[in-house]
């Protein structure tokens, strides 16, 4: 395992996409220290900001407040990164495999356009988690993002596959132009959830304001939700799927597109 301890807080965001197992695996400590990072337009060495300990392996631990360190785990395909603190923008963007765990918060674009692997943020994240970059056709294509706190705007924008779970509340436009995949909102959402949604599933465990372009269909417990409940249970997130406890109210839309997506809103028994 290699440990990177932040010893100098960058004055502006530091771009450190070399912080991923694919790059450091097999490198000596000296080679890792010399890896390039970018502070604005200036190229610097990794050890200008981090104390590097250990030899390169498939596991990286980042210590300190890396809230200004961007692109950690970008495009990684294997291994594991643990951030013992906060993480900056674009954490795990384009990643295809492996796992990232952040014990603090993360900024915008967590797992943007990722195609595999697992990202778990214990705290809150900014906007556009799992989303498509501006001008890009599709966001997240597979994999799982678990967020323990809240999330910002446009979570899951244009996502095509995969699963995003936000235990807390999300802001506006969750699932904007969603094309597929599953977005679970444990703490509800603000406005315009599922706007221009084409396909995919948004599951909300709390009542949320719905656009008038979503039509009520029925109240039931879809069988596929049971699969997700089992899958997420193994990751530590509970998704209700027992008729004894309640059912989901299904809404289809967004008919303004027109889309064939769905929003499932959990309705406890007796509501």
């Amino acid at each position: 395992m290699i440990t990177l301890t932040l010893v100098e807080q960058p004055a502006v965001p530091l771009e450190a996409e070399v912080v991923r197992p694919d790059v450091v695996a097999g490198l000596s400590a000296e080679a890792i220290r010399a890896l390039p990072v970018f502070l604005g337009r200036r190229q610097r060495r990794l050890d200008d900001f981090f104390r590097v300990e250990g030899d390169g392996g498939d596991e990286i631990e980042v210590r300190g407040d890396a809230g200004r360190v961007k692109w950690i785990g970008r495009g990684m395909t294997r291994g594991r990164i643990v951030v013992r603190g906060n993480a900056g923008m674009h954490l795990g963007a384009h990643m295809a495999g492996g796992a990232i765990e952040v014990l603090g918060d993360a900024s915008d674009w967590v797992g943007a356009e990722m195609s595999g692997g697992l990202i778990r943020v214990q705290g809150s994240v900014g906007g556009q988690a799992g989303a498509a970059y501006r001008g890009s056709a599709s966001g997240m294509r597979d994999g799982t993002i678990l967020i323990g706190g809240s999330a910002g705007l446009e979570v899951g924008m244009r996502m095509k596959r995969g699963t995003i779970v936000v235990a807390g509340r999300v802001r506006d436009f969750a699932g904007l132009q969603m094309k597929g995949g599953t977005l679970v909102l444990g703490g509800g959402a603000e406005l315009r959830t599922g706007a221009w949604m084409l396909r995919g599933t948004i599951i909300s465990l709390h009542p949320i304001p719905l656009l008038p372009t979503f039509a009520y269909a029925c109240r039931y417990v879809p069988t596929f939700v049971r699969l997700y409940a089992r899958h997420l249970q193994a990751l530590g997130f509970g998704l209700p799927a027992d008729e004894a406890d309640g059912a989901y109210r299904r809404y289809t839309g967004d008919s303004s597109v027109p889309g064939r997506g769905e929003i499932l809103v959990w309705s406890p028994r007796g509501d």
Partner: protein
């Protein structure tokens, strides 16, 4: 020449079996009863590939903890002569017997099998473009709208090499004894995972031989050497020892050789009851299939 177990002679012969292709279907439902209803319907008229194009049966019941969706389930095994024919049977039988059965869902029970056949990927057309799919952990599931909600079925099912046609012949003093022994054997063999007994109640009374002596158009006909009512005819060479008045056969299909061996082993042991004269097995001198299960070898004689 033979040996004995609890007074029952075990013939020094072998059961002959042949290569097949197999699939495992996991059916879940709101209750164990509805899962069983679907499984029974799906495995109906599936006793022999000769007449039914597929051999199928219930492998075991599954607790909610052992099913993909956490509901009660049943595991069904299907055996066909080749992948193409098996795939067609899967689509037909899941489409007619599981999709139509209240509350059910249907999952692949051989996810790591190298061969794949499309099932949900074809059945989805029943949804008339109102269907949708979910992709989770590398597996695609189709959600087909039906009148009680949705039918969930996996896109593809695994198909693997298997062995069919293993068998036991239980030769009894009378029909009552032979049936009781066969029932005991079936009860024991059904505890073994990875195999099915495709005939009604796990037992077949109409054992067959390849072709026919007197009808050219028949691909199979009655196994007259083991039919007690024609013993003594000049044109029948009986295989029945003296004192045998009824024979019942148990046919077993398995996912691998080990499953069939274990099934035959416990079946023979359970069938060794008073009144059973001999336990033997059917073979065609090695001409039908490449798998041979020597009865003495199974019993470590």
């Amino acid at each position: 020449m033979g040996t004995e177990r609890r007074g029952v002679r075990i013939a020094d012969t072998f059961a002959e079996a042949f290569d097949m292709r197999a699939a495992r279907v996991v059916i879940t439902a709101a209750t164990p009863a509805w899962a069983r209803t679907a499984a029974l319907s799906m495995t109906g008229f599936a006793t022999s590939v000769i007449g039914c194009k597929v051999e199928a049966g219930i492998e075991t019941e599954l607790s909610p903890a052992d099913t993909p969706d956490g509901r009660p389930g049943i595991s069904v095994l299907l055996f066909g002569v080749n992948t193409e024919q098996l795939g067609k049977q899967l689509v037909d039988r899941i489409g007619q017997s599981v999709l139509t059965c209240a509350t059910t869902a249907c999952f692949d029970g051989l996810p790591s099998a190298p061969g794949r056949v499309a099932v949900g990927g074809l059945l989805r057309h029943f949804g008339d473009r109102l269907q949708s799919s979910k992709f989770l952990e590398g597996r695609r599931y189709w959600r087909i709208p039906v009148m009680d909600g949705e039918f969930l079925v996996e896109e593809t099912f695994g198909v693997q090499d298997a062995i069919g046609g293993g068998n036991l012949l239980i030769l009894g003093r009378d029909a009552e004894v032979a049936l009781a022994a066969a029932e005991a054997a079936v009860d024991a063999m059904r505890q073994v995972r990875g195999l099915i007994l495709p005939f009604p109640g796990g037992i077949v009374r109409a054992g067959s031989k390849v072709g026919a002596e007197r009808y050219q158009h028949m691909t199979a006909s009655t196994n007259d050497p083991y039919c007690p009512t024609v013993r003594g005819r000049h044109d029948v060479t009986t295989a029945l020892p003296e004192g045998v008045n009824a024979v019942l056969e148990i046919v077993v299909d398995g996912l691998d050789r080990a499953a069939i061996e274990q099934g035959l082993r416990v079946g023979i042991d359970a069938a060794c009851r008073p009144g059973v004269v001999e336990i033997t097995a059917g073979n065609y001198g090695g001409r039908l299939g490449r798998h041979q299960f020597r009865l003495h070898g199974l019993l470590d004689v």
